[in-house]
Amino acid sequence: MAELHIIGQIVGASGFPQNSLFCKWGIHTGGAWRLLSGLKEGQTQVDLPSTGDMAYWSHPIDIHYTTKGLQGWPKLHLQVWHQDSFGRCELYGYGYCHVPSSPGHHHVSCVTWRPLGSWQEQIAQTFVGGGPQLRSPDLIYSGADRYRLHTVAMGTVELELGIIMRHFDRYGVES
């Protein structure tokens, strides 16, 4: 059985309308993968940067998977939320990226998007905040029913991921 280690961190995010951000993240895999140890989902701290525009979380990720097949390679999905000074939370973006499939150190920039409502909802959103959210987070990383959505681009999440693979070459896998 081959093993995969994902060792890295969610560094931070930039390009969003406001700065006080946090991120909920999770890793989704196919049926052949089994999580041996580590947390596969979590939520970062809320960061209000005092200098600059980028919010920094430095949230560590350390996960160990074992697998019987290449299908269902792990995908990291993210939801970026904004917390204002009153403690209310508002969704700022959804995004996903595949975990890199070659060993070594990788810098990944994950783009994010937010669902766009009707023009009445957009006007309400500029005054009151809030806005449409996905009912089920599966749509973040699956392409199945995406054609029904109309979305708008939001900022970027930066991640630094180190990948260690074990025994993949025994099965003839080149990566």
Binding site: G12, L48, S50, P60, D62, P103, H105, M165, R166, E174
Partner: protein, 211 residues
């Protein structure tokens, strides 16, 4: 040394905490410590340290330089719990009390070679404006009771922080026996090396065996 089937691999770290970039603060010192999983153990070197106090120079107004050495070697059976370095920076406030200016953490690089990392530093935020004022007045800012919390993922969702500076570290990494145990940390163009027993057991690199 067991030449045939090692059960542990080694990770040797030579590096330094080069310095910091804090636009608003001066006269800072830093402390570092390593956080690692249950399968890891340090075999030599120092796990913690405190640096000197440094000030900003005249010619490069934002840079603070520590040039503080890091030398440590770990052994492990499993990459889970790969070591992280936690850096905390402290400095004086307007009344002369020693307060925390930032916490930051990063994983030690997993591939052999030379690496530079710039990590953001953040401080916990006070929960209310009154508390922010009293902590400024009395010199008792919110801080983490154990800086190692910064290296963990659990429990972070209830913390509010403010990021306010960066620390630059550089590392030189050497690994031993990771390839023999089956771990690949570099991509496939070097796989031809593991059919040759010569120099196996030292850190993998692209330099060998162009025979």
């Amino acid at each position: 040394m067991t030449a045939n089937s090692p059960s542990v691999f080694l990770l040797m770290i030579n590096g330094q905490i080069e310095g910091a970039n804090f636009p608003e603060y001066d006269d800072l010192y830093c402390k570092y410590c390593f956080v690692y999983g249950h399968d890891w153990a340090p075999t030599s070197g120092l796990e913690e340290g405190i640096s000197q106090i440094t000030s900003k120079g005249r010619d490069s107004p934002h840079r603070l330089v520590w040039n503080f050495p890091l030398e440590i070697t770990f052994k492990s059976t499993n990459p889970l719990g790969w070591p992280q370095i936690v850096v905390s920076v402290y400095g004086p406030d307007t009344f002369g009390n020693d307060v925390v200016r930032g916490y930051g953490a990063t994983h030690i690089p997993i591939t052999p070679g030379q690496h530079t990392r710039t990590i953001p530093m953040f401080v916990p935020e006070s929960t209310s404006r009154l508390q922010k004022f009293t902590s400024w007045l009395l010199g008792r800012r919110p801080e983490f009771t154990d800086p190692k919390v910064v290296a963990q993922g659990e429990g972070r969702e209830v913390t509010r922080v403010s990021s306010q500076g960066f620390v630059t570290l550089s590392f030189n990494i050497v690994t031993k026996d990771m390839k023999r145990l089956g771990y690949d940390t570099t991509a496939t163009e070097t796989t031809h090396t593991h059919t040759h027993p010569v120099a196996a057991g030292f850190g993998p690199g692209n330099q060998t065996l162009s025979m």
